[in-house]
């Protein structure tokens, strides 16, 4: 790989650029007219304006990548990252797609198919409908069998949308209609499936890497239970209070399943964890926002590994080479006000935390205007320590130092989470911030 096209923006575009710098790979950065002041454009070898506002125009991205002499494309997360057609077009254009095979992206993007594929490969699946539920009657029958509450999910949903909770027959019928209409509108497909709802279960995910030829390793688990409306806010690695052996066994099952598929590059398998048991939810076929906590505890640069695997160099490591050391926490700093309303604006001055055990991934700088068109995530503060307690106090210190003037952010929310007794004792589930399924 000689020159990589970065088809994304913000902190993840900067993250990819840094990995390229470390590998000596040249970079071409895509940007939109609204985004010409992005930080990583300062250090890219070349920048190409690809449109007015959108990072979703796959053909333009590929055209720009080709014209600028790139031999590979990194999609980051969001935008085109889980678009199997884009991945296929990239490969058809003779470029390397930094991610899984298009067929695997498509397979995991379709939730019902993914569930059954991974169930048959041996992963524990949450009790649910064995596929699409076609009618209200079918849904009612299934719910009666398993017992309420149940979750209704759009098969092509994601990002916290296309999910509703039903606590009884009446709400089930209503939810069925709402979500069918929503899913048709949002995802172009009205397919719905049902799952047993586990109250205040924990969200645990396993990071895997495949070489595309049957070798798969895992880099441990992450705790992602602190969410608001299905959007993760704070993540930890490793999950606390779950025996290493339990996580190892689950992760080994994941690796087995993905080795059978000859899965390639990074992937994350999301699970619910309740009463000592794991239940597979879905698989994300891209790098995750929260990958730095895994980098901190393994010492492995996940984006560099993505690039190495995409380049055909292989994983270069075996399961035995991967050790979990210490504990890491990530706080996602969003430019939003106390009512969770996105608050774009200009950064007048900026004090970022630093010192032992602190890393910040951010594209902010003094003078930067956060545009209103994009995701409100503006910084990820990551702390690392010998144990959960040290990672926690370092994160508290980091948030005290963090000073973004005058952008409204969710810093105070993170500070209250870190001060919460439930957080300190590690006894929390997905209901920590709010009922995860309230509309």
């Amino acid at each position: 790989m000689k020159r990589l096209f970065i088809a994304n923006r913000g902190e993840i575009a900067l993250r990819i650029l840094r990995a390229c710098k470390d590998l000596g790979i040249e970079t071409v950065a895509a940007y939109t007219r609204a985004d010409k002041h992005l930080l990583h454009l300062r250090w890219a070898d070349r920048n190409v304006c690809v449109g007015r506002r959108s990072y979703l125009d796959g053909p333009q991205m590929i055209e720009a990548a080709q014209l600028s002499g790139c031999d590979a494309v990194h999609p980051g997360y969001g935008f085109l990252s889980e678009n199997s057609e884009f991945a296929r077009s990239v490969e058809d254009a003779g470029l390397t797609f930094v991610g899984p095979a298009p067929a695997h992206i498509a397979m995991m993007g379709e939730k019902v198919g993914a569930r059954s594929a991974l169930a048959s490969a041996g992963l524990p699946i949450l009790p649910g409908s064995d596929g699409i539920v076609e009618t209200e009657a079918e849904a009612l029958a299934w719910a009666r069998e398993v017992g309420y509450p149940v979750m209704l999910k759009a098969s092509h949903g994601g990002g916290g949308r296309g999910i509703l909770l039903a606590r009884g027959e009446e709400t089930l019928v209503q939810a069925f209609r709402t979500i069918s209409a929503q899913a048709e509108l949002l995802f172009g497909c009205a397919d719905i499936y049902l799952e047993k709802y586990l109250a205040n279960a924990r969200h645990i995910e396993i990071q895997v890497f495949g070489d595309g030829e049957g070798q798969t390793v895992h880099l441990g688990a992450r705790e992602c239970s602190i969410q608001r409306r299905h959007q993760k806010l704070l993540e930890e690695a490793p999950p606390f209070d779950i025996a290493t052996g339990e996580v190892e066994a689950l992760a080994a099952s994941c690796c087995d399943a993905l080795s059978q598929l000859e899965y390639r590059n990074a992937g994350t398998l999301e699970f619910l964890y309740a009463d000592g048991a794991f239940y597979f939810l879905e698989m994300n076929t891209r790098i995750q926002v929260e990958h730095p906590v895994t980098e901190c505890v393994t010492g492995i640069d996940l984006v560099k590994l993505q690039l190495a695997v995409a380049d055909g160099v292989g994983l270069g490591l075996a399961q035995n080479d991967i050790r979990i050391q210490g504990h890491a926490i990530e706080c996602r700093i969003n430019a939003e006000d106390e009512y969770f309303v996105p608050s774009p604006g200009t950064v007048d001055s900026l004090q970022l935390p630093d010192g032992p055990g602190i890393r910040v991934d951010t594209h902010l700088y003094a003078g930067y205007s956060v545009p209103h068109q994009y995701d409100p995530l503006v910084a990820k503060v990551i702390s690392h320590g010998v144990d959960r307690s040290e990672a926690t106090v370092r994160m508290r210190r980091a948030l005290e130092e963090l000073d973004i003037r005058f952008l409204a952010t969710n810093k105070a929310l993170h500070q209250s989470i870190l001060a919460d007794k439930k957080f300190v004792s590690g006894s929390y589930g997905a209901g920590f911030i709010d009922d995860p399924v309230s509309p």
């Binding site: 940007y31 939109t32 007219r33 010409k36 002041h37 992005l38 454009l41 300062r42 890219a44 070898d45 070349r46 920048n47 190409v48 304006c49 690809v50 449109g51 007015r52 053909p59 333009q60 590929i62 055209e63 720009a64 014209l67 600028s68 002499g69």
Partner: protein
């Protein structure tokens, strides 16, 4: 005035977007300037480091026609054909000015107003990015 200092000044100008420097030392003075061409400064986010953009962006006065997409710029419908327009041509609204090839599609770029072609800012077969100025009309 030390000739090496003048050389240094010229080098410094070339590395920057400065258009004129004047230095006086007692009775001696040096003035260095360059014409209307302004090279985008390093702090401009549209950083040019290669083939995608021409080395110098002229000072733009007229109405600007920009590229609506990323692609390859063609002044003529085929290598053997004459160019769609030349500098000084009078054109009508809707006249084709050039073609941008993008994803194997030939896109005709048309004038959004009538006028005279003042400048052609891109060389035939060059790659252009979104929003890049192509022509100016007066």
């Amino acid at each position: 005035m030390d000739i090496r200092k003048v050389k240094k000044l010229i080098e410094m100008m070339e590395e920057s977007d400065i258009s004129e420097i004047e230095v006086k030392e007692g009775d001696d003075s040096v003035r260095i300037s360059r014409g209307g061409v302004v090279i985008p400064s390093r702090s401009t986010p549209v950083v040019d480091r290669g083939e995608l953009k021409p080395a110098a962006t002229p000072v733009i006065k007229g109405h600007v026609i920009t590229a609506p997409m990323v692609g390859t710029f063609y002044r003529a419908p085929s290598p053997s054909s004459p160019s769609f327009v030349e500098i000084g041509d009078q054109i009508k609204e809707g006249d084709t000015l050039c073609i941008i090839e993008s994803m194997k599609m030939m896109n005709h770029i048309k004038a959004d107003q009538a006028g005279q072609v003042e400048a052609i800012l891109v060389v035939n077969e060059d790659a252009v990015e979104f929003d890049q100025p192509l022509f100016t009309l007066i």
